[in-house]
Amino acid sequence: MNAMERLAAAVAGTPADRIPVFCNLLDQGARELGMPLEQYYAKGENVAEGQLRMQQRYGHDNVWSLFYVGKEVELLGCRKILFAEDGPPNVADFVIRDYDDIVRLRIPDDISAEPAFAETAKCLAILRREVGGKVPICAYLTASMTMPALLMGMDRWMELVVAGPTDLRDLLLTKCSEFFRKQIAAYRAAGADVLLYSNPFGSTYFVGMKRFRELSLPWMERDLVDGVDGIVYYCGMAPFSNIVGDVIERLRLGAYYFAPDDDIASAKAIVAGRGLSCGVINDIRMLSWTEQEVGAEVARIIGAGKEGGKFLFGTGVMPFGIPEANIRALLETAFRLG
């Protein structure tokens, strides 16, 4: 059974050799290729090569076309990214500096024709050629409710969400939703199988229940109007099991990538077979845990979620500094118990 078949079995709830295991190693690809992060992320060939080598070495069930969070805003005019030597880069140039920039913001007609998409397209083409149909190829897409945080900064977006002006807030959301729909079409056409729908503002940790229901949910419906095939709901490591019932009812997605703070057994009970539940480890603790502690936590999560099927074990965005031995302990335990 290959990784794609394993994932399909988990989604369908049919028998498989083990549960799928998603291990999200991004920056580690640069180390694999022996180059600094900035150089690594400059070329789609590098990212594809890094992903393929790591998947071959560790045997987990996914590869990524994601370079770094923030790559998307390069398509909307961001010109400066602050790179680090030991972790993911930051957006250093906000596209929206004042409210007039919201009016001026232009959404490209065809994302796949944009020069800023070229390296991502190259990466996807290589991944599709090498492992297409055998290993799920993941893409990361930011929801309209969250994209403005990358365009103008989290605090200024929060201010606009909470205090208005609502006409500008809605104009920005309209543009971000249009961007999302065009972007997801480009990723689908380029061969991405698993589309991680990233929306921290789709959790009540960020906006509270009232705004979640009145604002986040309707905008998610608009984002996903063209179909939900391959979409995985994810709130950027914020817990969301308290609202997953609403999301299932309104959006009917196929998979839910919970947070480490979600009680996975309770979350899976709410999902109740209406989608794939993903149990996620707190990988920040993996920086300091021993191999035994990593194994014990993997065992706890799989023990809580595996029964009854329709379950996947996964990580967050694994920090660069996690020791190799802990990555191996995680995967060895997940493969054995899954």
Partner: protein
């Protein structure tokens, strides 16, 4: 106007993140004869303190609420301070910024707003702040606390974050005079991380950070 009535309405507005209504209530109270001192000490500060307690209990407490609570409190306090009969005594001084390599400013803004409403002087060092700049600003302004916000693991744990500031405090013999506090997402995912990076304390959210920092200021003053 009855101050308890104003307090109740103001708290309701803050909990609803309705900044416009909260500030209108403050202005109306002042115009109807409630003193600026009473507005700050009997309305604004008790509301922040109530939020600190509620945030740990309320399952629907959220970042938007933290953010607006702090912004409303800071604005209300700033408006009233200029109307005090005598300038109020400062509770202390804090230098705040995000760690080197980190450009995420939401947490810093929440904490700053909360501190201002508690009469703590805030020196905003900005984002992407090098360790030396934190220490220089603290020495220049006589700050008792340096507060470092990190949203990313590598900026929290790296040598140019809290660890770098600690090293400089040690080298310059300033550890008795200046305490270090940290906050941000990586600390929430690892409650012991603040020890790893050699901070004196951490706060789980921006609102409770106000209490943690106030306690550290008092600790320095006692020592």
């Amino acid at each position: 106007m009855d101050i308890l009535e104003i307090l109740r309405d103001y708290q309701e507005a803050v909990f609803d993140t309705d900044g416009e209504r909260a500030l209108a209530l403050i202005d109306q109270a002042y115009e109807s004869g409630v003193s600026a001192e009473d507005i700050v000490f009997r309305i604004v500060i008790p509301t922040i303190e109530k939020m600190m307690a509620a945030i740990n209990r309320d399952p629907d407490a959220n970042l938007a609420q933290h953010f607006m609570t702090a912004q409303i409190a800071a604005t209300a306090t700033e408006r009233m301070l200029s109307r005090f009969r005598q300038p109020p005594a400062s509770q202390g001084t804090v230098v705040i910024g995000t760690a080197a390599g980190d450009l995420h400013s939401l947490g810093k803004r929440i904490v700053s707003g909360c501190l201002k409403s508690l009469m703590i002087e805030v020196i905003d060092a900005g984002v992407n702040v090098a360790p030396a700049r934190f220490v220089e600003a603290a020495v220049e302004h006589g700050a008792q606390v340096i507060a470092i916000s990190s949203m990313m693991v590598h900026t929290a744990r790296g040598d140019n974050g809290c660890l770098g500031v600690r090293r400089l405090l040690q080298e310059r013999g300033l550890e008795d005079r200046i305490r270090l506090v940290v906050g941000g997402a990586p600390y929430r995912f690892d409650g012991e991380l603040y020890r790893t990076v050699q901070a004196d304390a951490w706060a789980e959210d921006g609102i409770t950070a106000g209490r943690v920092i106030l306690d550290l200021i008092h600790e320095v003053e006692r020592s």
